[in-house]
């Protein structure tokens, strides 16, 4: 099982965590250690950084857990934050398993968000709420997909490295989104440049009596469907073949260009959907220069989960707790808000070290 050879590509295409096999319990325990080890290490190391900053780490983590997990409002905010992150994760899993490094999620997300934010208040007076929401979600997905057309075609037919093109498209997309907000979609009623605000009643419904946005459900459904498609269907297997060995895909007669374009479309559509869910579920509008950069933040989480959908849910939850709790912990302890990213960065380094140690262990024959 998980014969991970390098951090850049852990077991593309093979469902290491999913396939239950004889005597798999030891392997599972081993994988659990591999997954949790870096997390614990990162918490400890980040604690040292906090100490160096003169902040009591116990207090900081206490706030994080309190505000992100235990406090009902905090927990609800955490779960709401998970919705778009899960959608982005789902999109990344499709792409990464197919061997396509779509790092343009932020551009796809933000453009979709801006267009949906402009469209929502425009349609709301004329159409029933549910229809506005459905149109918003569909348009968001389409805008995301559209922003990946250029990298997709270049990759599929010219073999141009998609890491470069998708990142470049993100720069363009973020700038274009700003231009759109400032020049075309600007709400004349406000002094700061931002789009008109979708009123709360017209947003995605909340779950039961809580403040949790139903975007969470959309995200959970998306990532589970993606996981099942990738592991249990012929289409998912074709994508995994392309990802694991493109020459074998050609040999087997798969249409690699068509599958590449399809992968881009699905991945970017999910990122676009995340933008729509964020706007119609949480923000209600887009302010100029707003860019949460969710996509690049989710990339390490998906790696940490080894492209497994269920494990991704767990890591996205953990990250949401960290980021929601971290916001209030930062306010109370005087640590910059970005400290959450420091924790994630240290987590990544720890992940790399764990992989390295695991490889050494394998090489040594246990």
């Amino acid at each position: 099982m998980s014969d991970t050879t390098e951090i850049a590509a852990p077991e593309i295409g093979s469902d290491a965590l999913l396939a239950p096999r004889g005597g798999a319990w030891r392997e599972r325990a081993h994988l659990l250690v591999l997954a949790l080890g870096p997390v614990i290490g990162a918490v400890l190391l980040s604690g040292l950084v906090l100490l160096a900053l003169g902040v009591n780490p116990v207090a900081y983590y206490g706030y994080v857990v309190e505000r992100g997990l235990l406090n009902p409002y905090g927990l609800q905010a955490t779960l709401t934050r998970m919705g778009p992150l899960l959608l982005i994760a789902a999109g990344l899993i499709v792409a990464f398993r197919a061997g396509i490094w779509n790092l343009g999620g932020d551009g796809q997300f933000l453009l979709s968000a801006v267009i949906v934010a402009a469209l929502g208040p425009l349609l709301a007076p004329y159409l029933p709420v549910w229809l506005v929401l459905v149109i918003g979600l569909v348009v968001g997905a389409m805008v995301g997909a559209a922003w990946s057309v250029l990298p997709a075609l270049l990759k599929a037919y010219q073999g141009v490295n998609e890491i470069i093109t998708t990142l470049m498209m993100t720069f363009l997309g973020v700038s274009l989104a700003n231009v759109l907000v400032k020049l075309f979609f600007r709400d004349p009623a406000t002094t700061v440049p931002q789009t008109r605000t979708l009123i709360v009643a017209d947003r995605l419904p909340r779950l039961f009596d809580t403040t949790i946005s139903s975007g969470l459900i959309i995200g959970l459904v998306a990532i589970i469907v993606v996981h099942l498609v990738m592991t249990r269907t012929a289409f998912g297997l074709k994508l995994r073949i392309v990802g694991a060995n493109p020459r074998a895909a050609i040999h087997a007669g798969l249409s690699v260009p068509a599958l590449t374009v399809a992968t881009f479309a699905i991945s970017a559509a999910l990122a676009g959907l995340a933008g729509a869910v964020e706007i119609m579920g949480v923000q209600g509008n887009v302010r100029a220069d707003w860019n949460p950069a969710y996509s690049l933040t989710v990339v390490p989480l998906v790696f940490l989960a080894r492209f497994n959908g269920f494990a991704s849910i767990a890591f996205v939850f953990l990250f949401s707790v960290l980021s929601i709790g971290g916001e209030s912990a930062a306010r109370r302890t005087g640590v910059p808000n970005f400290f959450t990213l420091v924790v994630v960065a240290i987590l990544l380094v720890m992940l790399g070290i764990t992989e390295y140690l695991d490889q050494r262990r394998r090489a040594a024959g246990k």
Partner: protein
């Protein structure tokens, strides 16, 4: 001596006969340069080397023979500093040494040329020589070139020091590596499957070079799969089987036995008594008849390195048409075009009268056209995927293994178990990643995939390339059986013996064209040889 050796090598390949090696060199020294003294190396679950003893004498080519998995690589690994023995000792010039790293091996005078080039293709030869120098010092290119020229003159090769390594042939790259090893003061040279990637001519050149090296008192370890090379180039032969040293044939005994007896003896040592009898058994083939099943007309393929043009080929059911020729003369382009992996520039392909040149790979496969690729890990399989899925790699989405696009694990597993049983794939289980199997078993899995179901015509590309003798025999038997079942078979092989053994007719390819077609009769060997060497353009 040099002359004799190279002459031997040439005759060995031209006639396919194996002459006896020249008389052994008198030992320059009374004791071996390197001695492995009962070394044992264990890996999880296997004893790769079990109390193996091995002496390396100066002025000798010591051939290491054995099947895949016999422990040759491990032995080389311990000599070249990649691995340390668990038990036993290594003596160099009679002193116990610990070869703890490749750098230490070089210090002790042991240089290794691995099967895959360790040179940087984008750098010039002399820059490659300069690699490994101290990072702050400027490489002394002229000095190195002079030193290189001296070594080249000693061993009788010519290398342009300013040529880019990537522009050299594989044989020349190997010469560069040998020269580099000698420049670093190697007295022992290990050539690990050095001829596997070479053309027959390149292999002969290497054999001649080995002869000149040992003349200088260098000890050469030559690892190979090919018995004829072992006999043509080697002075002393050690046979490994299942991690044990079965026997060593000394120079005296080798020359006493003569080539035929030596071959039989080696096969006996490598595989046990029964294998030797089977190897020599001949297989008469029934004459095929009736209408051609696979018809190829005016096929042309555009390609930057070897464009293919004007190929006409008819294959009847039950017929094996061999395509002989030096590797890289358009065989692969031809096979890929027929299989549907490459666009045709021109030409028609008919299978049972039906035009298939416009169909894709899947469409041609459904009509019964199969292609067994020679690049088993590169394109034939997905190494990290289980055997069960690799067996269905060309049928993804087809019933009964997928229904409405949903995977049916029971059907897939049942199919895999049947195939593994029928084709004798030795594997821990059907869920094992195929990349973890040996080359022979991967080939069996590929044969299972391509020969099962409604196959009507099969293209085999170098089907026994890189396999050991037992798997070669099993694979050839499969090819024969396929033809006996009435399949139209195209056998592409760079091994003339194989083509002569199996084919009914032989086409010779050269520079992207079929330069001649001969019936496989008594005169075929010479005719094919002439065609291959370009006697009739």
């Amino acid at each position: 001596m040099t002359q004799t050796l190279s002459a031997h090598a040439a005759t060995a390949n031209a006639n396919g006969k194996v002459p006896s090696p020249g008389p052994a060199h008198p030992h320059g020294a009374a004791r071996p340069i390197v001695t492995l003294d009962h070394v044992t190396k264990r890996f999880p679950g296997v004893v790769a080397n079990d109390r193996v003893s091995f002496d390396l004498w100066p002025g000798e080519v010591h051939v290491l023979l054995g099947e895949n998995g016999a422990g040759k690589s491990t032995l080389v690994g311990m000599l070249s500093g990649l691995q340390l023995p668990d038990e036993g000792g290594v003596l160099i010039d009679g002193h116990e040494q610990r070869i703890s790293s490749p750098a230490r091996a070089l210090e002790l005078g042991i240089g290794t040329v691995f099967q895959h080039s360790m040179l940087v293709p984008s750098l010039s030869v002399v820059d490659n020589m300069a690699l490994g120098g101290r990072w702050w010092s400027r490489p002394d290119r002229e000095g190195l070139a002079r030193k290189m020229a001296a070594v080249c003159a000693d061993i009788g090769v010519t290398i342009d020091p300013n040529a880019k390594v990537g522009s050299l042939s594989l044989g020349e790259q190997q010469q560069v590596e040998i020269v580099r090893a000698l420049m670093r003061g190697s007295r022992v040279l290990i050539l690990d499957e050095a001829t596997a990637m070479l053309t027959p001519k390149g292999a002969d050149d290497l054999g001649a070079l080995m002869g000149r090296l040992v003349k200088l008192g260098i000890a050469v370890v030559f690892i190979t799969h090919k018995l004829n090379e072992a006999l043509a180039f080697g002075h002393r032969i050690t046979v490994l089987r299942l991690g044990r040293r079965v026997d060593e044939i000394s120079p005296e005994r080798l020359s006493a036995l003569g080539p035929a007896a030596a071959t039989a003896e080696i096969i006996r040592l490598m595989f046990g008594a029964d294998a030797a009898a089977q190897a020599t058994a001949s297989h008469p083939r029934r004459a095929p008849s009736s209408q051609p099943l696979l018809q190829i007309e005016g096929l042309a393929v555009e390609d930057d390195s070897v464009p293919v043009a004007g190929i006409d080929l008819d294959v009847s059911p039950g017929e094996i048409v061999g395509i002989a020729g030096i590797d890289g003369n358009g065989q692969k382009q031809f096979a890929e075009a027929v299989a549907g992996q490459r666009r045709l520039a021109a030409g028609r392909i008919r299978l049972g009268g039906q035009a298939i040149e416009r169909l894709d790979v899947g469409g041609r496969r459904r009509l019964g056209l199969r292609y067994v690729t020679d690049d088993r890990l590169g394109e034939g399989t997905v190494g990290t995927f289980p055997i069960s899925l690799n067996l269905l790699l060309k049928q993804v989405g087809e019933a009964p293994f997928w229904r409405h696009g949903i995977e049916q694990p029971e059907a897939i597993a049942a199919h895999a178990r049947r195939m593994v049983g029928e084709f004798d794939v030795r594997t821990p289980g059907i869920e094992t990643a195929i990349g973890k199997l040996s080359g022979g078993n991967i080939q069996k899995a590929l044969l299972a995939r391509e020969l099962s179901g409604k196959a009507r015509a099969v293209i085999f590309a170098k089907p026994t390339y890189g396999l050991d003798v037992q798997n070669i025999r099993a694979t050839r038997q499969r090819i024969r059986e396929a033809a006996d079942r009435g399949l139209a078979v195209i056998l592409i092989s760079t091994d003339l013996e194989e083509v002569l053994e199996l084919a009914d007719r032989i086409a010779v390819m050269s520079r992207g064209r079929v330069v001649g077609m001969v019936d496989n009769d008594a005169a075929a060997r010479n005719r094919v040889g002439e065609l291959m060497s370009g006697a009739t353009p």
